[in-house]
C-alpha cells in the first residue's frame, strides 16, 4: 500500500539490476525507513539478460524472476508496478508519475537504465522493427517468429545483436546479421575471439556480414508498418527480411536527470559514493557514469554486474553507510552455440604501450592477457574458461605480474603461481580482487 502522505525516506526510480540491489543493500543498513520502487514495466523484477533464453525457449517468466516472490514484502518496499516517473524536481524533492501523482523523497536513486539507440537509417520507421532489451521485446519477437523459416535481419553484432541472433536461430529463423565494424563483438572481444565466434555462427548457418551498414530500409507494404521489407547495404546489396532487429547499442535514460539539472556527460556523473551533483540524489546502473577502475576515470559501463554493484553501494550510502565504490570495469561473459568467452578490462589496447600475450590451448581454447608496465589490465579466455575470475581479480588489484606473467596463459594457472605472501593474503584472508578494494 502506498503511503497516504506520499512521503518516503527513499525512492528508487527503476526496478531492475541497480534499483533492486540498491533497495536490498539499503535494507541491510536501515530496516525501517520508508522505501518505494517505481518500475514502469508491469512486472516484478526479472533478469533482463535472460530474454534471450526466453525467446530460445529455455526459460519462462518464472525462471527469469530475479528475486523471490516475497521480495518486496520481506524488504518492506512499496512497489509501484507499471508506474512511470515523468518528472523530477530536485528543489521540492519530489517525483511525479505519468498519472500526475507526486511523491516526496529524502534520498532518491536514479536507476533508470538505458534505451536502445535508434540509428538514423532511412525508412526505418516504415517497418515494425524490433529492439531486444526487455520482456516486451522478447514477447514481440516470439510472436513474430511463429512461422518457421522467418527471415530475420539483425543490425549490429554487439552483445545484444549476437544474443538476439542465437535466440532467433533457436526459434527456427533464418538469421542474417550486419555489423558496421570489421568483426563481430568488436568491443567485447579481440580479433581472434571474434573470428572464433563468427566461425561458429557461420557453421550453424547464420549469415554474417561485417564491415557493412544498412543505409536504407524499404517497406514491403508501402510504409503501413505491418510487414517486413528490404534492407539496402552501403555496397548496394539488398537483403529481404520478415523481421528486423536493431541492436546498435544503448543510451542512458537521462531525461529526469536533465530536468533536475544534474551534471551529465555520457551518463549521469556520480562520485565514488554514487552521488550525483545534486545533494541526496544518487545514480546507479546503465544511466550512471561511474568510476572505472581500469581506465582510472568515469565511464559508462552498461553491464549487469556493474549495475548490481553500483546499486549496492548506492543503497548503502543512501542509508548512511559510507562506502566507497571500488569501481566498474568492462567485463563480459557470453556463450554462443556452446563456445564460452569471458573478457575483462582492456582487450583491445589503444596503442603499443601495452604488452599482449596470447596462447592457444591444446583443447582449442584461446587465452589472452594485456599488460601495461607489468600491470595486468585486460584478459580474454575462450573455450576453456575455468578460473578466469582470478585474472579479473588481478586486474582489479592492478597487480604487478612480471614474475609470473607467462603462467597467466596456461590452463593450469592458479594461486600456486602467485608469490607466497600474495597467495596467503588472498586464500587465508580472502583479500582478493574487488574484495581487497573495499574500505571497511
Amino acid at each position: 500500500m502506498p503511503r497516504l502522505d506520499g512521503k518516503y525516506d527513499y525512492i528508487v526510480v527503476g526496478n531492475s539490476a541497480a534499483g533492486v540491489n540498491a533497495a536490498e543493500a539499503l535494507r541491510s543498513f536501515d530496516r525501517n525507513g520508508s522505501l518505494a520502487i517505481f518500475g514502469e514495466e508491469d512486472l516484478p523484477v526479472y533478469s533482463r539478460p535472460m530474454i534471450s533464453n526466453l525467446v530460445a525457449g529455455e526459460a519462462d517468466l518464472q525462471k527469469m524472476r530475479y528475486r523471490k516472490k516475497n521480495f518486496y514484502n520481506v524488504n518492506k518496499i512499496d512497489f509501484f508496478r507499471g508506474v512511470r516517473i515523468t518528472k523530477l524536481n530536485a528543489k521540492s524533492r519530489a517525483v511525479v508519475t505519468a498519472e500526475g501523482q507526486s511523491y516526496a523523497w529524502r534520498k532518491l536513486l536514479l536507476a533508470t537504465g538505458s534505451l536502445p539507440f535508434r540509428p538514423p537509417i532511412a525508412g526505418l520507421e516504415e517497418v515494425p522493427y524490433h529492439t531486444f532489451v526487455n520482456y516486451q521485446d522478447a514477447q514481440r519477437l516470439i510472436k513474430a517468429t511463429k512461422a518457421p523459416g522467418t527471415r530475420a535481419l539483425i543490425i549490429g553484432a554487439g552483445l545484444i545483436g549476437v544474443k538476439a541472433a542465437e535466440a532467433l536461430y533457436a526459434r527456427g529463423a533464418k538469421v542474417t546479421i550486419v555489423e558496421m565494424m570489421e568483426r563481430m563483438l568488436p568491443a567485447a572481444l579481440d580479433e581472434e575471439a571474434s573470428r572464433m565466434v563468427q566461425a561458429i555462427c557461420e557453421n550453424k548457418g547464420l549469415h554474417v556480414i561485417t564491415g557493412e551498414c544498412v543505409e536504407q530500409v524499404i517497406s514491403d507494404d508501402g510504409g503501413k508498418n505491418t510487414r517486413g521489407g528490404t534492407a539496402r547495404l552501403r555496397n548496394g546489396e539488398e537483403i529481404g527480411f520478415d523481421l528486423l532487429v536493431v541492436a546498435v547499442g544503448v543510451v542512458p535514460r537521462m531525461e529526469l536527470a536533465q530536468q533536475a539539472g544534474l551534471a551529465i556527460n555520457r551518463g549521469v556523473l556520480v562520485d565514488q559514493y554514487l552521488r550525483t551533483s545534486q545533494e541526496d540524489i544518487y545514480a546507479a546502473g546503465d544511466v550512471a557514469e561511474a568510476f572505472d577502475l581500469v581506465w582510472g576515470e568515469p565511464r559508462v559501463n552498461a553491464l549487469w554486474p556493474n549495475a548490481t554493484l553500483q546499486g549496492r553501494y548506492a543503497g548503502w550510502n543512501m542509508a548512511g553507510g559510507k562506502r566507497k565504490y571500488p569501481g566498474s570495469q568492462s567485463m563480459n561473459s557470453v556463450e554462443f552455440f556452446g563456445l564460452p568467452v569471458l573478457s575483462a578490462g582492456i582487450v583491445n589496447p589503444p596503442d603499443d604501450s601495452y604488452e599482449v600475450l596470447t596462447s592457444r590451448m591444446a583443447g582449442g581454447g584461446y587465452r589472452k592477457v594485456v599488460l601495461r608496465d607489468d600491470v595486468l589490465v585486460g584478459m580474454l579466455v575462450a573455450g576453456e574458461v575455468e578460473k578466469a575470475g582470478i585474472l579479473t581479480s588481478l586486474i582489479q588489484e592492478k597487480a604487478k605480474v612480471r614474475r609470473f606473467k607467462q603462467s597467466l596463459l596456461t590452463d593450469s594457472f592458479g594461486h600456486i603461481y602467485l608469490p607466497k605472501a600474495v597467495r596467503q593474503a588472498r586464500v587465508q584472508e580472502g583479500q582478493a580482487g574487488i574484495l581487497s578494494l573495499v574500505e571497511k
Partner: protein, 145 residues
Amino acid sequence: MIRIYPREEYCIGCRLCEIHCIAQHSSSKDLIKAFKKERRPSKRVEVEEAGHVSFALQCRHCEEAPCVSACISGAMSKDEKTGVVTNDPQRCIGCWTCILVCPFGAVRRSAVEHKVVAKCDFCPDLEIPACVANCPNEALIMEEI
C-alpha cells in the same frame, strides 16, 4: 560463519579431498560407484600444485560475494544465517558471469548438468565437509570466522 582453510605446509597433494568431494556430490555418494558407474560430477575443491608446493582450494564463501552480486539470474545466493554461498541449479542458466568474477577461481562449469555451475556447498548433508573429513594430513581445517 565457518571457512575452510588450506595449510600448504601440510598438503602432500594426494587429492583425496577432490576424490571425496566428487563422491559426496555424486548421486550414490559412493566412492566406487561414483567413479566407475556414474557420470562423474565436478570437483568443488581443487588441489593446485607446482614443484613441491600444493594446497587445496574451494569457495571462500565471501562476506560480500562477487558471484552473488554479479549473478544475472538470481541463482547464486548467500544464506543470511549460515553465510554459505550456494548456486540453485534450477535457476542457473550457465552464463558463467560468476566464473568471470570469482577472485578464487572456485566456481566451475558442471560436468554433469547442462549449462549450470558447480561450487562448494559445504556438504549440507554432512557435519564436516567431505574434503576436510578425508584429508589425511589435516591440511584442510575448518574454522569459525
